[in-house]
């Protein structure tokens, strides 16, 4: 049954994609797409809840096969839950001009490509879907931006990095297929060089696609360039499909990996989590900031995955299953709140004409619906109770805490450091989203455009309200999801989980109880305070007149942390003072926090490759004599080699 529903949903998506190409049927087409995505969500979660399999089983043969099982179902459900509101949102967000219609067609193709990877049951379909999933967003960026210079450059970096790193995916999948282990089945011996090679290739290849540091450089460039609904799909789902690949290969198909490999995964996760949120904090463009937060959240997911690998290596199977569940729960949660935040950013961009944090402000009052939904998303991504981000971060923290409990000295220490890194990440995320909420939603409008901002159309509001409701519901009953998620672990020994998160070895997290306590206390305190208040006065500025020039900026708010971490971040600042006749005329200030991995790792690498290419170009002199010379030299070398006995 879920398979039939899934088929119907995908068919509706395809039809919607075709219909959206024509001006007259644009709206109908986009609605059909959204309906199809809703069917995909229902089918996916249905298959997940039943843990049922349908269609073909995994095969290492190169014959197109499609199928469905619990893990695919979970990711398809995540895809549908994000795609439905994103597509509903896109109906009013995309204009029905030629460019808008092309984007509408491409977004349907994008969802289909993502579903193809998730349903693929053979190496060929998997890799084809994988490449399509990379190429379609590149097309969307080029179309939406009319292929301007910035878009071309971004797409070049995006394709270059994802293909260089993505070679790892090809290597891993082809090696698996060669060993007859695409789909598991014990073709790869535990502890063999082949197992480690496949694991390392998968980690690099899929880590690149997931935006894991240090392979992440394309992500903060590409995600903000796309239109808001496609950004939501990219951050919400596309990078999660890479997580799906990692779970399949590392957790399911390769058997038990050595503990040190789990520690490497933990280290990459911790680096991405802290690095992502740290650079997000010093970012002043809303969409780029959200894209950097995707790196952080992928880091948190990978921390859960690393804990799973270490605990599995230490035969702590119950907690390994919970660590996997933590990673997957955060996958779903991040998809929901990140889509919400990207759609919110799209709304604000339309309403106030800017995405720079310092050019918005006061939007909660002007866009009460979209603003309140965005606030819920911000609280969720900051990992605050009682919302969904808190539940999955709590579970990830618990999983990491059990690494020192079951591990040896080295992996136990790594687990403790990862634990501290995740705690610091959570605090940094709170810092960052206080800043975002403050600059975007609160206070006074900072520009005339923000002052005149008006609420979004009903369909857009409904899309963000749906996602905000999902944040609340997933925060109240995470146990219901986790209960089924632990069953996805391909080993026995998964513990029983209650509707709140009542787990053995923890103090339990009665999510609903905490939510009720918070709500009741807040309501009681608000009621007790009463409505009596003095007439409003301007804020206290030591008697100075309160004027916009006194308003705090994004850079100012984060300055203490920038100063504290100066040795690590190496920020740049420049102050230019212009004087005329001894009188200061103008002081200009420029400060930025450069991305160290870009500057120290990629820039030298790019410079070296360019230099090498320039050197190689000298070989192509264009003179016939030189080419004849090369041929003679080649023949001589071959003859010499044959003579020595190296060849022949």
């Amino acid at each position: 049954m879920p398979a039939l529903l899934l088929g119907a949903g995908l068919a509706a998506l395809a039809c919607g994609g075709v219909l959206a190409a024509a001006r007259r049927s644009f709206a109908v087409g986009v609605q059909a797409q959204a309906a199809g995505a809703a069917a995909v969500a229902a089918a996916g979660f249905w298959a997940f809840a039943e843990q049922s399999t349908a269609g073909a089983a995994f095969t290492s043969a190169f014959e197109p096969r499609f199928g469905l099982d619990g893990l695919s179902g979970f990711f398809l459900g995540t895809l549908g839950v994000v795609a439905t509101p994103a597509l509903v949102f896109s109906r009013r967000y995309l204009a029905s001009t030629g460019r808008g219609r092309t984007v509408a067609v491409l977004q349907a193709a994008f969802v289909l490509a993502l579903a193809a990877v998730l349903c693929a049951r053979d190496p060929l379909t998997f890799l084809a879907g994988w490449e399509l999933m990379t190429l379609v967003p590149a097309m969307v960026i080029l179309v939406a931006r009319a292929a301007d210079r910035a878009a071309r450059r971004t797409v070049f970096v995006y394709l270059a990095i994802t293909h260089l790193g993505g070679a790892g995916t090809w290597i891993a999948v082809l090696l698996l297929a060669n060993a007859g282990a695409f789909g598991g089945g014990g073709g790869v011996a535990t502890g063999s060089a082949l197992q480690l090679g496949i694991a390392a290739a998968a980690l690099i290849g899929m880590g690149t696609k997931a935006g894991l540091m240090p392979f992440h450089v394309w992500l903060p460039r590409a995600h903000p360039m796309a239109p808001a609904p496609v950004s939501a799909l990219m951050s919400g789902v596309m990078i999660k499909v890479a997580v799906y690949g990692l779970v399949r290969i590392l957790v399911d198909w390769l058997g038990i990996l050595p503990v040190w490999f789990g520690v490497v995964v933990l280290a990459l996760g911790a680096l991405s989590a802290v690095g992502g949120v740290l650079y997000a904090l010093f970012q002043h463009d809303l969409k780029r900031l959200l894209a950097l937060h995707s790196i952080e959240n992928v880091g948190i997911i990978v921390l859960g995955l690393g804990a799973c690998l270490v605990l599995r290596g230490r035969t702590a199977d119950a907690w390994a299953a919970l660590a996997l569940a933590a990673a997957l729960l955060h996958t779903l949660n991040h998809a929901v709140f990140k889509a919400l935040l990207f759609l919110g950013a799209g709304t604000f961009e339309k309403a106030a004409g800017a995405l720079e944090l310092d050019r918005l402000g006061g939007l909660l009052r002007r866009l009460p619906w979209s603003g309140a939904a965005f606030l819920v998303g911000a609280l969720a991504i900051a990992g605050l109770p009682p919302l969904n981000g808190f539940a999955s971060e709590w579970l990830t923290l618990q999983a990491l805490l059990h690494v020192p409990a079951y591990g040896g000295v080295a992996d136990g220490t790594a687990g403790a450091i990862a634990l501290a890194a995740l705690a610091a990440t959570a605090a940094l995320a709170v810092f960052c989203f206080v800043k975002v909420v403050g600059l975007v939603l609160l206070g006074r409008p900072r520009t005339a455009a923000a002052e005149a901002a008006a609420e979004a159309p009903v369909s857009s509001r409904a899309a963000v309200a749906f996602l905000a409701a999902a944040c609340v519901v997933l925060g109240l009953i995470p146990g219901l999801v986790v209960r089924t998620l632990v069953g996805l672990a391909p080993w026995a020994g998964a513990p029983a989980v209650g509707a709140g998160l009542a787990l053995p070895g923890t103090g339990s997290l009665p999510t609903a109880g905490i939510a009720v306590a918070l709500a009741v206390c807040t309501a009681a305190l608000v009621a007790a305070r009463g409505g009596r208040r003095a007439a409003s006065e301007p804020t206290w500025a030591c008697g100075q007149l309160v004027e916009p020039a006194l308003g705090w900026t994004s850079a100012g708010f984060t300055k203490p942390l920038r100063l504290v971490l100066e040795a690590v971040l190496r920020p740049e600042r420049e102050i230019a003072v212009q004087t005329a006749g001894g009188v200061v005329q103008e002081i200009s200030y420029r400060g930025r926090v450069p991305h160290l991995i870009d500057e120290r790792l990629y820039r030298p690498a790019v410079a070296m490759s360019l230099a090498a290419a320039a050197g190689a170009r000298r070989l192509q002199s264009g003179s016939l004599a030189a080419y004849v010379g090369y041929l003679i030299a080649l023949v001589l070398v071959l003859l010499a080699a044959a003579r020595v006995g190296v060849i022949g």
């Binding site: 900051a382 605090a427 989203f433 918070l518």
Partner: protein, 306 residues
Amino acid sequence: MNAAAAAVQLLGGLVLAPLLPGLVQHWKARLQGRRGPAPLQPFRELRRLWGKSTVEVEGAGVVYRAAPAVAAAALATAVLLVPVCAGAPRLGAGHDVLALAGLLALARFAVAASSWDTGNGFSLMGASRDLTISVFVEAGLVLAITVPALVAGSTDLAAMIGATAGTHVWSSPALALAGAGFAAVVVAETGRQPVDNPDTHLELTMIHEGPLLEYAGRDLAYLQWAAAVRHWLVLVLAAQLFLPHPVSAWWQLATLPLVLAGLCAVLALLETLVVKTRILLVPRLVAVAAGLALLGVVSWVAGGAL
């Protein structure tokens, strides 16, 4: 037993908590040769504030109005969550120590967001400093509580209090190192010297007091009460996890008030002896404490189970 533990937890956390900062202020004044306010002074202040009207700031909205209630509600929920002795009953919020960190973060978010709503520069200055320090404090807190959690094999606070009771856990240096790490968390969360100066009236040096500047009346009463409850939470954790405590739950209940008073005296002594650290050096202090706690974890893992 259960009823007594719940009574101590609720009465102490919700009602008597303001006594703790009151005691610190009282003893600090004595140590400095002043008569100073009576220990009940925080209650008098709350009563005075309760009778005053709140103020409205031009341009501020619902977040400014809701923040004090949300912060106080988060701390009240945290009181439900932190048991006072081993085997204390669950009061609907579980006993998980990591959930406590989440609730403290919620209160911090609410207060910091309110400063953006008013746009007050001094409030924002305090909020941004508080959030900067919180990054290190949160890492230190989680590392410090990892040791008792490893001892107990659980993050259930009631179980952790039971497992760290008695003398046998002190044969390993792990808990002592974690306790040293937690000391910095106590000082930072309570906003006391050398991290912050609760007596300051100079806006430029404020950390925790900064975001409170725009509030008056019952709103301010909520926030001051929340600060007192924060004293209660971290001092109870310090007393029942990181200091030697008796095995019997009744004795744990009986000694708790004495140990809390002792800890207040230590805070008062610390405030008298130590000057406030430069704000930019505070993270270094807390990071060193977190490093000590990490050493505690490593020594526990290396030593194996006792």
